[in-house]
Symmetry: C2
Subunit: 184 residues, 2 copies
């Protein structure tokens, strides 16, 4: 970055200082649904929000898992309708702001715009990495690739979520974890 400040820091500073509204979501509560008109941007302070889309067969697919410091629906800032739904996982605190305000701020503040572009570029890389992960056919391969990106295996109780993120069935992941437990 030109100023030597990380993009996340710049964006966080903007959301925390500006006229955004604080909101709280309960477990399972939706911030928006697939197809809704795009009105608000969200910045996660605490907790986690999942972006979900349902395939033709009705199976839900996780598009993004947004944690603290992430912007929700970053890809929808210039869209008319959301192309996915956002569901809170556990209790989540976040800041929401009308898209129009955010876009005006981007036009007015070049440094913010640069940080935003960097953030989006990073999101593109992560999305592509995820697409690449899902071309791997074996559970073992996907898990290895995931562990290469994220160093730590989540705690017991979070494994179903991991299975969803890897795009495999619960049982298949449990089995793979069992195999690894009986080795190194």
């Amino acid at each position: 970055m030109a100023a030597g400040v990380s993009p996340v820091t710049t964006i966080r500073a903007y959301f925390e200082s500006d006229s955004g509204t604080r909101r709280q979501l309960q477990d399972g509560e939706a911030l928006f649904h697939d197809g809704d008109p795009v009105r608000q941007m969200g910045f996660v302070l605490e907790g986690m929000v999942r972006l979900l889309r349902h395939t033709a067969g009705g199976v839900p697919v996780v598009l993004q898992a947004a944690g603290p410091g992430d912007v929700i629906a970053e890809a929808s800032a210039y869209s008319v309708n959301y192309h996915c739904g956002a569901i809170s996982h556990g209790q989540t605190r976040l800041i929401v702001q009308p898209v129009s305000v955010f876009r005006a701020a981007l036009l007015a503040d070049a440094a913010l715009a640069e940080a935003w572009a960097a953030q989006l570029a990073h999101a593109v890389q992560r999305a592509r990495t995820r697409a690449e992960l899902r071309t791997l056919r074996t559970v073992a391969g996907r898990l290895d690739a995931w562990l290469g990106e994220n160093r730590t295996l989540p705690d017991r109780g979070q494994w179903q979520a991991l299975a969803a993120e890897l795009g495999v069935s619960r049982e298949a992941l449990y089995r793979e974890l069992a195999v690894r437990r009986t080795r190194g």
Copy 2:
């Protein structure tokens, strides 16, 4: 867009008017390789460039297929090294420009920065759509999803490329196409 101009138009206008260098790539020629330091942005005028990454097993995966009007390595504008390689498919004409120049232009021109952000947002959506497509397990499902996005089936001779894009084996795609040929 604020100005009512599509982001692609704005970006194309910038690349064509500015001090970029025209280049031509032959079939199979690389613009850059995985791991190279990021130096240049590319804008495709004609032909196609594929972004490839190799999995641990050595199988190449297509991350993006950039055609006329697309920017190559848009996700790498703020990265140090490329996270994939770029190989020309057929003969390709493009405009290249140092990243530093492009980033300076983004800081100086708010409208260009907005168009750029919109372009990136679109790239995020496409990458997520591709990830979603690859969570479908059957060839038929993936092909249907792909046909839902892109209206037309490519010509004979391009089916291997399609198989790679769908993340299935050549034979599996041929079989699925054969089944559909004997019906509607």
